[in-house]
């Protein structure tokens, strides 16, 4: 009974999108459209480009945050497997703190505690826009999880690999570089992709702190169009659909990779 949704690759997003549209239409059909007021559907169509523009910022933030998180997370992960306790323990602490704190709290911390303007040693002042701070705020929890992914992948390599490399006189660094890590990359890819998807789904939180991304724009659009309660369902559904259309394929791809790697015994 291995029944999964993956077989309905393209159909489900289409079905979901159709459902959203149906719901919007249903919501719209409930209202009595006065001649001089536009229907919710019309308002949505008018504001769609604006909302999509905001979504671009979500994507930018997610890609940047993922890049930062990967680089720092890998470094942190190496620190966690270091034989030296001086390096290992602080790394473990940092990983633990950022893995076990809510994303929202970390975001708040960065937004409030990092100044909006920094004076460089040369004397110049650099403005740090809100979305940049939000990007760092999103990168931190993913960094901690990438660190754990790396540590987990290294731990899962059988000790026999370390022993035979050691017996062939490889140094620890050489062993990591030529034997252990190449085998780890495969194992790390699906969880890494999973975290990217999750990260992207968290980026709308930036709207709480004033960043003009998709959610912020959706709320602004609803206000600009008159703040009518019948807008809420279609607009939010549309927003969810945008994310769904982007994330679901990534999700499917990740699962396919997982299955392939599990089958080949990686």
């Amino acid at each position: 009974m291995t029944w999964t949704v993956t077989r309905l690759n393209w159909r489900l997003p289409v079905i979901a999108a159709a459902l959203c549209l149906l719901a919007s239409v249903a919501a719209v059909a409930q209202q009595e459209g006065a001649a001089d007021r536009e229907t919710a559907l019309q308002a949505l169509v008018t504001w769609m480009p604006f909302i999509l523009q905001g979504f671009v910022l979500n994507l930018v933030m997610s890609v940047l945050a993922m890049a930062i998180a990967t680089v720092t997370g890998v470094i942190l992960g190496f620190m966690q497997i270091s034989p030296s306790a001086v390096i290992r323990l602080p790394a473990k602490l940092v990983t633990h703190v950022f893995r076990n704190s809510p994303w929202l709290v970390i975001l708040f911390a960065i937004m409030f505690l990092v100044p909006f303007r920094v004076t460089l040693p040369g004397g110049e002042t650099v403005m740090i826009p809100d979305w940049v701070k939000a990007t760092v705020g999103f990168a931190l929890p993913v960094m901690a999880n990438v660190s754990e992914i790396l540590r987990g992948a290294v731990m899962s390599i059988p000790s026999g690999q370390w022993e035979s490399a050691d017996s062939l006189a490889f140094s620890r660094g050489q062993t990591l570089r030529h034997v252990i890590l190449p085998q780890c990359i495969r194992r790390m890819l699906p969880p890494w992709m999973n975290w990217y998807a999750l990260l992207t789904l968290m980026t709308p939180m930036a709207a709480i702190l004033g960043v003009n991304e998709a959610l912020g724009n959706t709320q602004a659009a609803m206000e600009a169009a008159g703040s009518r309660p019948e807008f809420l369902i279609p607009f939010y559904l549309f927003l969810m659909t945008i994310f769904f259309v982007f994330i679901y394929p990534i999700s499917l791809w990740t699962r396919r990779l997982e299955r392939r790697y599990a089958a080949s015994g990686a």
């Binding site: 059988p158 026999g160 690999q161 022993e163 035979s164 490399a165 050691d166 017996s167 062939l168 006189a169 490889f170 140094s171 050489q174 030529h178 034997v179 190449p182 085998q183 015994g265």
Partner: protein, 252 residues
């Protein structure tokens, strides 16, 4: 490889003196004395848990000794100032689980260490690797990945990989224990050839027939001590100690 100063081939190439090893409170080796001369083939037999694997791993430093001395070509293995690289070049080891690198081809597995660790010339290493693979009858599998080979084939690659470092001593830790019976023979044949070519070999093994055929001396260990040792004909035909007799009656 260059032996340490003062060592000459008339001295034992591997000398273990009063070796003790404890893991926490459990003492696994309780005073082992073994001497191996160059070119000799030594087999260590005994029941599980007698410390055989631990013993063989102290020779190349994988398992540090608690007290006692292990020297290879006169060089103390458990010396903090030891040049680990030099030791690992002298002593090769083959494990029960072969431990080939799954992400590299057979040829790459054999070539990796001399290239990266010894930084030797690539063409020389490749030539040597190919001839070693031919010696273990696997020259047609050069570009295969370990997962495509049988257990016996993988074990022979592991032997070739260790040999490519040109060691003076080869250690074998129960190398046929994880293999199907059909493939055990091909590995034993390889080891036999190696011994005939003059390599100093120390084997931990359950293959009594093989031990009798190939070794110069057999050591029987039980509960961390060497109970009895001697030439195979003597140990297997006329065991002196009752424990030896009991063990042999169970396995032969």
């Amino acid at each position: 490889m260059t032996p340490s100063e003062g060592w000459t081939p008339d001295q034992p190439i591997v000398a273990i003196r009063d070796l003790h090893k404890s893991f926490g409170h459990v003492e696994v080796l309780k005073g082992i004395d073994i001497e191996v001369m160059k070119g000799e083939v030594i087999c260590i037999i005994g029941p599980s848990g007698s410390g055989k694997s631990t013993l063989i791993r102290t020779i190349n430093g994988l398992t540090p000794a608690t007290t006692g001395s292990v020297t290879v070509e006169g060089q103390e293995v458990h010396d903090d100032n030891l040049d680990k690289l030099a030791l690992r070049r002298k002593v090769g080891i083959v494990f029960q689980q072969y431990n080939l690198f799954p992400h590299r081809t057979v040829l790459q597995n054999v070539m990796m260490a001399p290239l990266l660790v010894l930084k030797e010339n690539k063409r020389e290493v490749e030539e040597r690797a190919r001839s070693l693979l031919a010696k273990v009858q696997l020259h047609d599998k050069e570009d295969a990945y370990p997962a495509e080979l049988s257990g016996g084939q993988q074990q022979r690659v592991a032997i070739a990989r260790s040999l490519c470092m040109r060691p003076d001593v080869m250690l074998f830790d129960e190398v046929t224990a994880a293999l199907d019976p059909e493939t055990v023979k091909e590995v034993l044949v390889t080891i036999k050839q190696l011994a005939a070519d003059g390599m100093t070999c120390v084997l931990v093994t359950h293959e009594m027939g093989f031990a009798r055929e190939v070794s110069d001396r057999v050591y029987f260990t039980d509960a961390g001590r060497i109970v009895e040792s001697g030439p195979p004909a003597q140990l297997f035909e006329q065991p002196q100690d009752p424990r030896t007799r009991e063990f042999l009656s169970k396995v032969l």
